[in-house]
């Protein structure tokens, strides 16, 4: 068991040699995750809000037309 632990801790020479590559790739992937999160948040909060507002306005306009048509009909 203790021997296994020691094996895990041992840093192979290849790890040292590829450190800059691995650290760089890790940072790039981490940054990409945050970027996707940010883009998703912006798209949901701004673009969807704009679209929802437009749909609400269209619905309100359609309802207004319907009401006025009904009123005209009842006269």
């Amino acid at each position: 068991m203790s021997a296994q632990k020691a094996d895990i801790r041992v840093e192979h020479e290849i790890h040292r040699r590829r450190r800059s590559r691995n650290v760089g790739l890790g940072l790039v992937l981490g940054a990409f995750v945050f970027l996707i999160m940010g883009m998703t948040y912006v798209k949901l909060t701004t673009q969807n809000a704009e679209r929802a507002e437009k749909i609400r306005a269209e619905e309100a306009a359609a309802q207004g037309t319907e009401t006025s048509t009904t009123k005209e009909g009842s006269d």
Binding site: E13, I14, R17, R18, S20, R21, V23, G24, L25, L35, G38, M39, V42, K43, T46
Partner: protein, 313 residues
Amino acid sequence: MSDASIDSRLDTGEAQFGDYFALLKPRVMSLVVFTALVGLLAAPGSVHPLLAFSAILFIAIGGGASGALNMWWDADIDRIMRRTQSRPIPTGRITEGEAFAFGMFLAAFSVIMLGLASNYVAAGLLAFTIFFYVVIYTMWLKRWTPQNIVIGGAAGAFPPMIGWAVATGGVSVESVLMFTLIFMWTPPHFWALALFMKSDYRDAGVPMLTVTHGRKSTRLHIIVYTILLAPIAIGTGFTSIGGPLYLAASVLLNLAFLKGAWDIWRRDEAQADADSYRTEKRFFALSLLYLFAHFLAILAEKALAAYGLGGWA
């Protein structure tokens, strides 16, 4: 083979993170970022800052992917030319196969991500730019015709159009003019470089104008293209992205550029050799300033417009 011999073999020339970054041609990428950003900011309408940042990032990655694929295809001539011998493939730090896979992955990634971050017109333009640079310029024109720089220059001219499309979802006269400005600027810029990078292109067998038509003809071509460039650059000043500041800057820059081209045209090889191509090198440096200042002036007009000062309104 002992463990020691395996280790010593692996130890030589392992590619680091910086080598993969170098594969993206960061200097070219900086021009792509700057011109795309100006195209995006000069366009009417607004884009959320994070989406604008993402779009510029993906355009830059697309430009970098083109650079990696260019290095993959041109590895043979990069080994010959002094200017390119220290690139990651000629030095053996990255294999040609790795560069190809890296470039293809980034090309697909950048186009898809730009489409998701902005719109599919911008993504389509980016895809076409990568295709144009890699297939039309690198694989076809570069080793076939001395007009390689003229037609291939289109690839470097697309970024402001892509930036504009990110903001507007389309193409307009202004974005086409920004494209034309870079397109017409590229030949004199590269031919000046070819004049003082004397034997590189000849050694590599690249049919640069200096190799196929001679240096005297190249000097003539430089002045002709510089004359054709001037009305396009100045004319842009009368559109919605121009204004008095841009116009003043453009007139001065074009006068200086024309003077430089005139000086190059009047010289012969003996004179150029005598002062180690000082005029040609100065013209090359001026060409970088010329393009940077034009796009900076477009940006300044847009910034001033926010205070009611820029543009013609």
